[in-house]
Amino acid sequence: MMPMLLLLVSLALNPADSIGITSAGCDEVMALTGCPNVGGSIEGDSALLNGDLTMVGAPGSSGGGSGDSSPGAGSGGSPMPPMPCEEVFAGLCYGEGQDKPGDGTASPSIPPLTLSDVAAFRPQAPRQSMQPDGWMVVGLPTNFYARTGTHIVSGTLLGSPADVRFTPVGYRWRYGDSSAARLATPGATWQALGLREFDATPTSHVYRAPGTYVIELDVEFTAEYRFAGGAWWALSGVLVVPANDLVAVAGSAVTVLVDRDCATAPHGPGC
């Protein structure tokens, strides 16, 4: 009873994981200088985070740079952005002085500086394997399985930590024989599933003709991001990331090489 109660409490203390529309990390202190405007999108096999932040310039003061600003972020006597511009996409990561009509409330010698930053996050490439390794028997199930999982890729945006969490949600197999399947499970080895060799699995496929086949797998990931240690926010859409190709030869049962003598080991592969 008590462990269950503790679990419920723990879940209840993380409300922001499941609510909200969009967000940028901000708090009461950051609101004084202007909250960064952070958003994200999925483009092909990457999650792109972008952010804008209006900086407060302090010309000539040592407080302007934190010492690790990237080269080229400032030039000559112009104010340095206080935060480094990293995670670069050349041409997209820049600090830009803006000359807006003065309203008399701010010192004219200190133009606001808008820092824009884009960071690309790519999930780790999934891998696929097959059983038997590199060959299959016509008419018998070949077991394909993917190795991937939920993982976090970390970087920086506007000088603050940014993380993207990728979760695999779909597995699109193209078996090379003009058939394909979109599955929700990565599959597993026969051993892990507690099955015998050549048993059907949720991710197995049966080839009907001998030949050489190239098996392709694309894994679909959903992505969430957080900025400056804040809550996780989902990005809409899925990323499609290709895994390694497999090349395998299908033969009829009579021509398949077997590991052991089928007379002495009748349960061996292919027997």
Partner: protein, 186 residues
């Protein structure tokens, strides 16, 4: 026979005594206990009022710290969870590293209850806060007004408050995030 009975009963008595002794610290709560654990907040209004009061205290401390570069952070630590304090500390350090301080006070323009819950002694209240920073100015080390001209006057935040362990009524701020989910805050 009576002697054998005594022999058989003696360990039984010992066992019962032992069990009774073991059971002593973990005995079930008396029936009236649940009544004592009645929800701390009888209504949404009470929860919102408690959250508002706690947030205003927290905001007053935050204002005091951002307006004085030498102010210690300990008072803020008392009003926040350790995780949220780490985030705030980073923001304050960055502000101070730029030689900046605030003048005037951020104010609570409006607050709305999103949810409140109580599980055992653990309280969680989440509110939407409309924070008004329009009467604050940012000053640099020389006292120049360096307030960004296009800074938003109002910021919508989603703020989570929890109670400190063992202190049922003392709410602390556990997190604040920008909220763009439709709160009327402009």
């Amino acid at each position: 026979m009576p002697r054998r009975l005594r022999l058989a009963v003696a360990p039984l008595v010992l066992l019962i005594a032992t069990l009774t002794a073991c059971a002593e610290p973990t005995r079930l709560p008396p029936p009236e206990e649940p009544a004592a654990r009645a929800p701390l907040f009888a209504s949404d209004e009470e929860a919102l009022a408690a959250a508002t009061e706690a947030y205003e205290e927290y905001l007053a401390v935050s204002n005091a710290i951002t307006s004085n570069p030498d102010a210690p952070l300990a008072p803020l630590q008392e009003k926040t969870s350790s995780a949220h304090f780490e985030n705030l500390e980073a923001s304050i350090t960055q502000l101070r590293a730029q030689g900046l301080r605030s003048e005037g006070s951020s104010a609570l323009a409006s607050v709305e209850l999103q949810q409140h819950s109580q599980i055992g002694d653990e309280i969680l209240i989440v509110v939407y806060v409309c924070l008004d920073v329009s009467s604050t100015r940012l000053l640099d080390q020389n006292g120049n007004d360096v307030t960004p001209r296009d800074r938003a006057d109002r910021v919508a935040l989603e703020v989570a408050l929890i109670n400190e362990s063992g202190a049922l009524r003392d709410l602390i701020v556990d997190g604040s995030e920008t909220w763009t989910g439709g709160l009327n805050c402009s």
